[in-house]
């Protein structure tokens, strides 16, 4: 699996310059709009999207077919992509948080740091769910078709979140929720999202076991 991960990292090297430019753009955007929370959200999204780029590169040259002739099993192919996704999500989150802190330092924000942490954790949980829904679809039908479904996933998941927030407001839960409770809820969301990732991984393994090249 280490070799496959290295391959993905080498292959993503060519988009690194574009990503530095994107990060610079987000930083300036957040600085001028005085909105630090936008930065982590966009870095987490941008880095997570790289998993689709990586899968797309592999698909373009049928790398999986070749990989299976090496001392690599079908499960390794899936495992590598999930680990790669978590690494990308983690990198995006760390850069996002650091950027968030830096922008906060330059422009003191109206939101407290705890609120910002909750919002970052919520974004992580949402992207864990979105991409974990996507990955089995990618293994089943390929990147291009699954990319179209990404929008559907976003709309569905953000729809659920919007409904939840509306319901919270209607029931006046916002006033009852204290900061520690919100952090607890965000962590609970992360735990649920991790379980969802595991279920998604198992489904992807089932799909790849039946796949033909």
């Amino acid at each position: 699996m280490k070799g496959l991960l290295l391959k993905d990292i080498y292959n993503l090297r060519k988009v690194s310059r574009q990503y530095l430019l994107i990060l610079l753009f987000f930083t300036l955007y957040c600085f001028f709009l005085k909105n630090p929370t936008f930065f982590p959200m966009m870095t987490i999204l941008s880095f997570s999207m790289l998993i689709l780029t990586s899968l797309g590169y592999d698909e373009a040259v049928s790398f999986d077919k070749y990989a299976l002739t090496l001392p690599v099993c079908r499960e390794d192919l899936v495992r590598t992509k999930y680990v790669m996704f978590l690494l990308l999500l983690g990198t995006g989150s760390v850069i996002g948080m650091l950027g968030n802190l830096a922008i906060n330092f330059l422009i003191p924000d109206v939101e407290s740091l705890a609120e910002q942490l909750v919002s970052i954790l919520s974004v992580v949980a949402v992207f864990l769910i979105v991409f974990s829904t996507m990955l089995p679809l990618v293994f089943k039908m390929g990147v291009e078709k699954a990319r179209m479904l990404l929008m559907v996933c976003y709309i569905a998941i953000f729809g659920v979140i919007y409904l939840g927030i509306t319901l919270m407001k209607k029931l006046n839960l916002e006033d009852i929720l204290t900061e520690p409770m919100m952090i607890g809820l965000a962590i609970g969301g992360i735990v649920l999202a991790v379980l969802y990732v595991f279920a998604s991984y198992c489904m992807s393994v089932r799909i790849i076991r039946k796949r033909e090249w």
């Binding site: 080498y10 040259v61 001392p71």
Partner: protein, 285 residues
Amino acid sequence: MDYAIEVKGLTKKYNGFTLDHVSFQIPTGSIVGFIGENGAGKSTTIKAILDLIQRDSGEVQLFGKKDGAQDKELKEDISVIFDECYFPDGLRVLDVNQMMKQIYRHWEPATFLEYCRRFDLPDKRPVKEFSRGMKVKLSIAVGLSHKAKLIILDDACGSLDPIVRNEILDIFMEFIQEEDHTVFLSSHITSDIEKICDYILLIHKGRLLFFENKDALLYDYGVVRCSEEQYREINPELIVGVQKNRFEVEVLVNNRHILDERPHDYVIDQASIEDILLYVVKCNL
């Protein structure tokens, strides 16, 4: 006798094509040429051996192990070289070296870089800038750099120029000097097969037509160039295929020595592997 590959009753059905109960055994220490026209089932057979497709029935053993292609340990000893390169475009030779170092336990960086140098593959240019031939050479360099015991080639030499192809065939001849090394070579280039193979495996429309010793084939098979009348006098059991034109009849026979023993006034030439492929396939249309 030990076998590197054993295939028994291999069947795979697609819409419009069936690989039909294919069985053969590839002896360890041999070079076996796998021939057949486009769509005959060569790649399907190789994919089934490598577990890249799910077979409908039959059994495949690699080095005596059932479904060996599912065994990571066993795949350390196998190299597969396809007709295309499957390395992602952004990778360079040095990246492939680092990647394979992590994948193969017996990866030999020096051997790999030496083959890359021998094949004129630039270290620092991405694969996307390589020609098709260079990409195949990269796959061959990988295949020869991890102490494999079995090399499977799926029409890999087709995109190489004759000089490089010749060099690669010589490398395979060197490789086969170790008695436990085996090469299974699927190719359209019958001259390559004729040059290096010990056995010929011929497949047509998903069915195995024969698996023969190459020297015996070349020694026994012949092309008789005769008249229509002379053709009718040839024992039908000897006839494998016939091609008629306005001036003469060309007959592929499976034992030219029997005809040679009798007095005759027609010409009998030694048949090449290409002749055998053409006549046998036409006869079985």
